[in-house]
Symmetry: D2
Subunit: 430 residues, 4 copies
């Protein structure tokens, strides 16, 4: 899943000076923090407290955990005299930082009725007030030391904004009543016309982060790879194309599946993507954050696991891209597409963008880049500790905050995860 | 667990005429229903929605289920023109009545954030209003047919009042912060002085319900049993006595335990009753509905399983009573003791009563009485369906509403259940 | 399951003198021990080593465990100078005697390839030789002390003979090839003619063991019970009658089942007794120790759980007997029927006997009799430790050695056990 | 685990003509098949039938499955008139070829007592006789078509020879008696003197199979990769070095572990490699195929999982190699080392070879090479179906038959597998 990692030291002094502008940072801080709260408008306290599977965290946990992160890694070490809001929160809202101490077990997050949603709101307000006061008064050397961590804190909160949405989607979907998260946005259905490929001649390329701008450390170091020529689809796979796969017996043909994938769909009884509800005659409804509605064949398919993406690709005769392939195609392009800020909460497929709508599964296992070394300290303690058993996804989704992703950004999930906005973009050898 | 069952037909016309007094019944209705709501005062919505183990139901589920019971078995069949509050509630709040149709699975009750606590409150208000209107206007024949079912509905709600308390105790106990349910009641600690036994000469006795007054059908028919002479302890076993058992290696000596009990404590790592928290030096704190406090050796021990009760009894050289033994001793005595209405929410041990404080585990498996036959229809469909794998408990507890139990009342739980107020009263052969 | 327990002290000196006849005892010893080995004729070593579910023990384990029992409780304490055959066997072949020390876990019995079947055979031969030598030379006082334990040892071995058969039946049944244990015995199919009931007027009766003859201690003390009038079926329920139950939707009607039973058949997908194989058109084959063959509607049904027996009884409108009811009917009758020695290895239903063919499930939970107290020492340590969560069966089966059961004999298994020869005999109120 | 895959078509006619020499092939056939049987000398039938964990297959299953492979893919399609030895074996001994039909579930292989070891021996003899007859008489075109499949059949059998050994090691290790597989070989303990590194300057390299000689298809196509400069250790990590890791708290320091690895060691209680038995004072015995003996600090460590290898590497400050790094170092070297044929059944560490002794875990996930495409038909149906969730190992072990591995050979197992002879060879950036 999304894991924050330490930033590389900036080598660009101009960028450093831009970042040292506290007023701008204070403004960004307020914007990011307010976005989190805005996402909870319309949710009852009852919605925000339950946990419907171990992967899901309650809404109020996201709100509290991101706050704890700022309190722990910024206010406590950098704001003299700051007193923690509630000492018990260190135990309750630490996610996985073993160096910070014991923590409440993840699958038990839904057993906590207290602190209540209201108390978490007060916690956020108190930390925000302390943060803004600190930003207004901190001296330059301290600010220089703390700013990179604040960058992480804000990117970290953006990651949790996406998780907050995919988690609340799962929560509401468990209820037979199927309440909508938000009233349906103005119908903006995809009008998929242009198909076709981006071609790339391969050769010795470079991928990974270098130079100015924020990046997580799993994007470094920038390094060379040799790629054969390939092509990458301009469009995401649509629900209609995926429906053809289903109707062609896709879930009943073992030869299309990885062995682990075949075992997974048998054991769990999967026969369609998550949130597809079969109605009569082989038709499907779709459960979205705007409620239940008929499936639109022209919209991008989402909520598929890596196993399903791989089987679908095998069925087409094409294949999934490697992460380096996606990145070299994306490298020169503008980061634009259907992100969280558009307010659709669902892919539209419009515009044929490489970014947004749906994270695309790659055929690349999540591994360290050559020369990658874990950083020191609690924030860096576990930079690479999730580099096993997971697959890389690229490009961001309709739940990713605008400005959060980039060409080098590596998201990762286990191959059976389906509750994220994960879709399929095909690739091919040339 | 507590299961409501159909009532015997009343053979006493005087009692019948008393029960036909609608004003009195309307008054009792209001009292019982208000008690349920009063129990939730001080709970946050967040407290009322989560489920901390499969046995536990959320508070709002109890509030809604008891309301659904009245709506389904009274308003729908007996109040012409009544329209159900929300048709989806039939699925959500049916507990186990298969004849009534499909139902939401019990272990998933904590996955439901909607209806919210507020909506459940509105549901209760609407049903209460309809019930009072119906009681005011119903004709005599219809009332006569419905009154026995209303009796069940009220007793059923009382059973859920006890469960609501023991469930919320479990919910709050999962939180490392350990919030109290209610501020501590005025300290009313037990002053155990009188020990000793009630002696009984045995012989051919009769147990079970007959005659006037309400009873569940598992208390019938009244029948004969032959008992050897025995004695029954006047006092419940105290926490201090149980502590002696622990300190004497009680949980490490297989010869004291039933084979299933030994396996259970090994597998679950039990080394003390539920809600005992070991502090330093072998001392214990106790988690109560009034919060955490040091264990008082003179209070009755509660939250033990049947296995622990049996092992403790073996350690003493005495034994647990049979349910018939408890009943013949109780038969002539006043139903008095520390019940829910006293507001202690914890055993006090005062007064040496046979009732209240803690349900006592008997050595009797929960079996049908000779001649017992299940009744017809949905309410009676499953009268006996829990008569396997469970043990009988007798006497009521500090969470049992006053007036709810009697000498013939049979409570029952699986031998490993600990989250009820279950304690130990010893017996002996003479 | 079958558990050996300590004998009551004999109160009858004549019986005592009979038992002190060493020659007779040596003869019985040889007969019982040879029967065990005779049961393995035709089995490959491979058949005797595997374990197909936790309840099942490998054949060679039964052969070794019964030998270890004799070595541990007789030769070691009573035969001066005896040296144990292999010290590691104490760990490997102790079943559940915690006082004797650590032991190999039951579900792991199938992980042991060594000692081999041949080595176990040598172990048996060595212990038998030592036992016969000891019987020939032991002095009178020592013999008097040891003889009751030898009685237990032989009854214990008889119990394991039945288990050996039901276990090997389960082992062979897992193999898709379905090998037969023994070539089909001469077809001796039931000719069920006489139906009807044994009537009993009830009243104050006595059950349990007293007086001369061997009995396990769970059969004591003899005590009074009060029984209403009842009747007990003269015939076991047949496969054809059970088939009617199936065809009438017996496994799909929740109202017929105990709640735990309904959960069990749903979870495990049970829709017929164990070893019934559905063929075309709703017909069934039966897997027997003589191989696979068509089901005969007139043979007694076996391999049903208590849950299935109870549901069947509910379907008929009759009920299962209480154990006291079975015993008072059996008390005056000759112990005769289709036992192991007949060599059928399957019920025949011939003759309308109360004993043999199939153990019958009673509606009685396995509880201690009033006044029952566990004996001292390793053999008695756990006399009552299985008295929880199990139901009593009565009467013996086609796999029970002749002479092993009696009117007071109590067998017991959990309510979901099906791999024993367990059947149904109905009872009714009068 | 080891999975056979289809061969690339040979491009070298000289090699092709060599392979067409039937006499040579018949000789190799006999040698490989005899080696399998020779590995079972000294095993009792009881040893060969049990299954001690789902990963383990019984010895007799290996013997039968490899025979079924030859019968199914060679005799049936290529030997006219051949009749299968036993039609039920197709179901019992198919491992995972879904195109061939239904098959017996893998975790249930230990439930099969029949066919017995003797019957499997007769099966092997019959197939061997038919194969030799066929090799003697087949016409040239048919031989040309069948020869590549026979190549696979023999390599497949060699893979199972290694598994047979690691599986029987696991079987015998479950027995508290700890029998030895073979009497101890003449003590050939490692004399580790030369340490140091092989240096490589990196750059654009080629890996993968091309040209003459047999290879599995997962080794193709040969392709380019770009490598930074690196070095590879000349010696395997020793038991003594691993012991230092343990004593330095290696298993108690989360910062050294992958998140999944930390969870795995906590859940399973791992605190040392498999088959290490802690004795007093922090010393260890080792369970080997030659029995139990004290650990020798100078021998290579084996039976570690990928997780443990990765944590150990982190502790040293070095890292595990990528598979391409191992291959380019190995490419020019002779395939020599301590293989199965040496008869040690355990690593010696002698000679500082790159091959043999222990498979080394790489940091490379098992992924398809660029351009890899699955072949057609049953043999090729699943070439890539295991390419998810597993890590690559390189180099062969003391249980790998001589001549079976090569520089391009890719072995693969899940990151928690420990029962193979898997060890550690460090790498470093330069």
């Amino acid at each position: 899943m999304l894991q924050s990692t330490v930033p590389r030291p900036s080598q660009d002094s101009a960028e450093g000076s831009a970042r040292s502008d506290r007023a701008l940072l204070a403004e960004r801080y307020a914007a990011v923090r307010n976005t989190s709260m805005a996402l909870t408008v319309g949710l009852a306290p009852e919605d925000q407290v339950i946990q419907t599977m171990p992967d899901v965290s309650p809404t109020k946990w996201h709100l509290a955990h991101t706050t704890w992160f700022l309190e722990t890694f910024l206010l406590t070490p950098f704001a003299p005299g700051y007193e923690v809001f509630d000492p018990s929160f260190g135990y309750l809202f630490n996610s996985y930082y073993e160096a910070i101490g014991e923590r409440h077990p993840r699958p038990a997050r839904g057993l906590l009725s207290r602190p209540t949603v209201g108390e978490v709101g007060r916690y956020r307000a108190a930390v925000d007030e302390a943060m803004q006061a600190w930003l207004g008064g901190v001296d330059a050397p301290r600010f220089a030391a703390a700013a990179p961590i604040l960058e992480i804190g804000l990117h970290h909160e953006q990651q949790h904004q996406e998780l907050l949405l995919t988690d609340i989607k799962h929560v509401l979907a468990q209820n037979p009543v199927m309440p909508a998260y938000r009233a349906a946005a103005p119908a903006k259905r995809p009008q998929l016309g242009l198909d076709g490929w981006w071609d790339h001649e391969g050769g010795l390329v470079e991928i990974g982060h270098a130079g100015a701008g924020f990046a997580f450390d799993n994007e470094s170091p920038r390094h060379r790879q040799y790629l054969p020529p390939f092509r990458l689809a301009r469009r995401l796979v649509t629900a209609g194309q995926y429906l053809d796969f289903i109707r062609d017996g896709g879930y009943r043909r073992p030869e299309l599946w990885l062995s682990d994938g075949w075992a997974a769909i048998k054991e769990r009884g999967w026969a369609a993507p998550l949130y597809w509800i079969e109605t009569e005659g082989g038709a499907y409804d779709l459960l979205t954050l705007n409620g239940r509605r008929p499936l639109d064949p022209s919209e991008p398919v989402v909520h598929v696991s890596f196993y399903e993406a791989e089987a679908f690709a095998n069925w087409t005769g094409f294949r999934l891209p490697m992460e380096a392939e996606w990145e070299v195609v994306a490298a020169g392009r503008q980061v634009a597409g259907n992100f969280l800020d558009a307010g659709h909460y669902h892919p539209t497929g419009e515009g044929g963008h490489l970014y947004g709508d749906a994270w695309v599964w790659t055929r690349s296992a999540y591994q360290p880049y050559p020369g990658y070394r874990a950083a020191e300290g609690a924030l860096g303690e576990y930079n690479g500790k999730f580099m096993s058993g997971q697959m890389v996804l690229r490009g961001g989704s309709c739940a990713t905050p605008d400005g959060h992703v980039r060409a080098t950004y590596r998201n990762f999930f286990p191959p059976d995860a389906r509750w994220q906005f994960s879709g399929i973009r095909l690739a091919a050898d040339v």
